[in-house]
């Protein structure tokens, strides 16, 4: 593996990790903008804009963009979160230059009003689709409850109202503020020729103007409210809990990640043995969500109405025991083995590697070898995990539940 990096005069950073043994290559534009950077009046604009990037440029129609990708057999898409917007493609090495050139062009989209109006319908369908996925809906609502006004609680999709009210002009304004070259990283992983790709980015993006880009970063320990919403068409109880955790920049993030496996991995975790194995709930998870300057743990469980009280009692006792007695050496060893094998397997594929490469640079401004992260995971001790449990007790959570009427 060879790491390469280059910074353009306008602040755009290009990074790459070359692996000549790989059968594919991956490219990604990591733009540091998401729903937390939105004014609530235009909530959902980051995600809507991600869709609009695919609608082409002055030169390329939406159909021409799709065909240009498809004719290389690329596996490509984009995603938007509270924190970032990522555009990516995995391709056979012989097509990487062509696809990179395409992305470069697309990063300066036309944002035509007629395309904006059609895509608005698609965004509203996407909002409707997630309303029919209560496991997603409940997390979105819990996030807003937990963050209680902190920008990380902004919905990524926005609401039907905010999307209806949004204008193409407002989106163009947001674009010109946020898609500045100094607010993005272009990353490459897999089999490619660094000099050629670097020169291509230099030539294609060198003319973009940099500007001052701001993000409000404040830590929060969130609210501890509890809410429940009846939905007549649901049959199960969907419960989401959120509590504070360390940030994406914290040195303790590896310990937090191991803790999440010990508590809520889909097999072999405390939630698994106490809740799933005994068939008290259908599913239970506990995830660590590191963010820019803050972080959270997020629990999701799905169970019957009659098991809700019992489930919450068991979770409370698991959390209380963790804070009081901590995790065991044996739990740490198993979690470490699972985390390391998942990590190694993911990084064997250029597309998997690209994601870590891009986010490490976005959050930490640094290149980390796979081996660096492996070392960091191996170095975590029981004492470190138990210390973050005291500092961030998982029992101090906000709770949102969705379920049928007259339950819980």
């Amino acid at each position: 593996m060879k790491f390469k990096s280059h910074k353009l005069k306008n602040g755009l950073t290009v990074i790459g990790e070359v692996n000549k043994n790989a059968k594919s290559s991956a490219v990604g534009f990591f733009v540091k903008t998401g729903s937390r950077d939105e004014d609530l009046k235009i909530n959902g604009v980051s995600h809507f804009l991600e869709h609009m990037v695919f609608k082409g440029t002055e030169r390329l129609s939406p159909f021409a963009v799709n065909e240009a990708f498809d004719k290389t057999g690329a596996q490509y898409n984009a995603f938007t979160s509270e924190e970032g917007t990522v555009f990516y493609a995995a391709v056979l090495p012989e097509y990487l230059a062509e696809i990179t050139q395409l992305w470069i062009e697309m990063m300066r989209p036309a944002l035509r009003t007629e395309d904006f109006n059609i895509e608005k319908q698609v965004i509203k369908e996407e909002i409707a689709m997630y309303k029919d996925q209560p496991s997603f809906d409940v997390m979105d609502r819990c996030r807003e409850l937990y963050f209680a006004g902190h920008p990380c609680g902004h919905s990524v999709l926005g609401s039907e109202e905010s999307i209806d009210a949004m204008t193409a002009e407002q989106m163009r304004g947001y674009f010109s503020q946020r898609y500045a070259p100094n607010n993005m990283v272009v990353a490459f992983a897999g089999n490619f020729e660094w000099e050629r790709i670097r020169d291509m980015v230099e030539a294609g993006c060198g003319g973009w103007k940099n500007q001052e880009v701001k993000r409000t970063i404040t830590d929060t320990r969130g609210a501890r409210d509890k809410q429940r919403l009846d939905k007549a068409n649901l049959t199960r109880e969907h419960i989401c809990l959120m509590s504070p955790a360390v940030s994406a920049q914290s040195d303790k993030r590896f310990a937090a990640s191991l803790l999440s496996v010990i508590v809520g991995d889909d097999v072999g975790s405390r939630f698994f043995w106490e809740l799933v194995d005994k068939a008290i709930v259908e599913t239970a998870s506990f995830d660590f969500a590191p963010m820019d300057g803050t972080g959270a743990y997020c629990t999701y469980v799905r169970c019957s109405g009659e098991n809700t009280a019992k489930t919450m009692k068991i979770i409370a006792s698991i959390f209380a025991d963790l804070t009081k007695a901590g995790v065991t050496e044996d739990e740490l060893i198993k979690a470490r083995n699972k985390v390391l094998s998942a990590f190694v397997i993911k990084n064997e594929i250029p597309m998997g590697r690209l994601v870590d490469l891009g986010f490490n640079w976005t959050y930490l401004g640094q290149y980390r070898l796979v081996e660096d992260d492996v070392k960091a995971v191996k170095a975590v001790t029981v004492a470190e995990i138990n210390a973050i449990l005291k500092e961030y007790p998982p029992g101090e959570f906000a709770q949102f539940s969705l379920g049928p009427a007259k339950n819980g």
Binding site: K71, L234, S341
Partner: protein
């Protein structure tokens, strides 16, 4: 394309397959047990799902907890599930732990404890899973669609039916396991970094002495009706539709795959263009080839708000019909490169290769080399695809909807 395939048959008929991959440090393995949803006895729909849980609740010398701890201790990324023909169990892991993992899976498959007290939670979890589907209409509509489309018992729900699950006992389930866990029908596959000689020796030791049984061939009955609507007061109408097509072993298989790719291979393909890009009717719309050994179809899903449901359905069906009218060289080119690229990219993943070689062997009785698949894709032409489409028109759609409003199906 360089490819290293390994193959060995144990004396009892169990097939061992392997694909060595130079560039990885991981290994993935899978056991396909001939115990899927369609081979369960009548009145036991969902038993396969219960079995796939129960066999992990203690095996060999280990009780439930000890077995779980042993699997976790090896850092296994477990995989598996139930489909129409098989229960699959397996994992991806660091290569050095392969032999210990295979030992544990030998216990799970041959010496599961199957304790009575562990049966109740295994069955209850399966019941919870079926009930959970009511809150997941997008997933549920596709299960209902297969049940409606395929002749019984091929389309049976892999999740199960509540009444059957509630009636299931440990005795009945044990009997099914004894009858169906026939080594002659098990396919074992491994891909990534491994030593095949060592794998063969270990498998012979673990499985060689279990006698071969007989696998009965399936008798199929009727399929469901043309259209089924399930009312649900949700935000969208979830539309699933399916039409028959050729099997994987058919000489027109690659023509069918190209046709599906022209329809829905990427964002430039017809369904995405007509339904989403031009009309803004849906966020999610797509079609896929879906095959069993005995029958195959093209499935299509779209989710849309009630006012747009009818138009969405009509546009989709029109696109299926329009295929036989003609496709362009550009469309053919995009379909070919899309299929070939995804084949090569999948070949970087040990889990994906372990699954593919076992699937090939089950469906075809042999493993297709990647070069063979590429050559077959290259052989297709606008003419060959259109000739196929005109002789095998996409018609006789089976349709299932879940949502606040029904649609009209001609």
């Amino acid at each position: 394309m360089k490819q290293n395939l390994d193959k060995h048959k144990l004396s009892n008929g169990m097939m061992l397959l392997g694909e060595r991959m130079e560039a990885v440090e991981s290994v993935a393995f899978s056991f396909m047990l001939p115990t899927g949803a369609s081979v369960m006895p009548a009145g036991c729909c969902g038993a396969a799902n219960v079995i796939s849980d129960w066999i992990f609740r203690g095996a060999g010398e280990r009780d439930n907890r000890q077995l779980g701890d042993a699997l976790d201790g090896l850092g296994l990324q477990r995989s598996g599930g139930v489909d129409s023909a098989h229960i699959s169990v397996g994992a991806a892991l660091e290569a050095s732990n392969l032999s210990s993992a295979i030992d544990l899976y030998g216990d799970i498959i041959l010496r599961a404890k199957l304790d009575d007290e562990q049966f109740a939670p295994a069955r209850q979890l399966a019941i919870e899973g079926v009930k959970g589907l009511d809150d997941d209409p997008r997933h549920k509509v596709m299960l209902k669609l297969r049940k409606q489309f395929y002749p019984e018992p091929l389309g049976r729900s892999t999740a199960g039916e509540i009444a059957d699950l509630e009636a299931l006992t440990p005795e009945t389930t044990r009997k099914i396991i004894v009858e169906k866990f026939n080594p002659a029908g098990i396919i074992f596959s491994v891909a990534g970094k491994y030593d095949f000689d060592a794998v063969v020796r270990q498998m012979e030791k673990l499985f060689g002495s279990s006698a071969a049984g007989r696998t009965k061939s399936l008798k199929t009955g009727a399929s469901g009706g043309r259209y089924k609507h399930i009312p649900n007061d949700g935000a969208q109408v979830h539309i699933g539709l399916m039409t028959p097509t050729v099997l994987l072993q058919d000489k027109n298989y690659y023509n069918a795959r190209i046709a599906v790719a022209v329809l829905s291979g990427g964002m430039g393909a017809r369904l995405f263009t007509e339904v989403r890009e031009k009309r803004g009717l849906c966020y999610a719309v797509g079609a896929q080839y879906h095959a069993m050994k005995e029958a195959a179809g093209i499935t299509c899903y779209a989710g849309t708000t009630p006012d747009k449901a009818q138009q969405t359905f009509d546009v989709i069906v029109a696109e299926f019909n329009r295929l036989a009218e003609g496709i362009s060289e550009e469309e053919l080119g995009r379909a070919k490169v899309g299929l070939k690229s995804s084949l090569i990219m999948q070949s970087e993943s040990s889990s994906s290769r372990a699954g593919s070689i076992a699937g090939d062997y089950y469906m075809l009785g042999r493993v297709r080399a990647l070069d063979e698949i590429k050559a077959e894709i290259d052989k297709t032409s606008v003419d060959s695809v259109l000739t196929f489409l005109r002789k095998n028109r996409f018609k006789d759609f089976t349709v299932v909807t879940i949502g606040p409003r029904e649609i009209k199906v001609e």
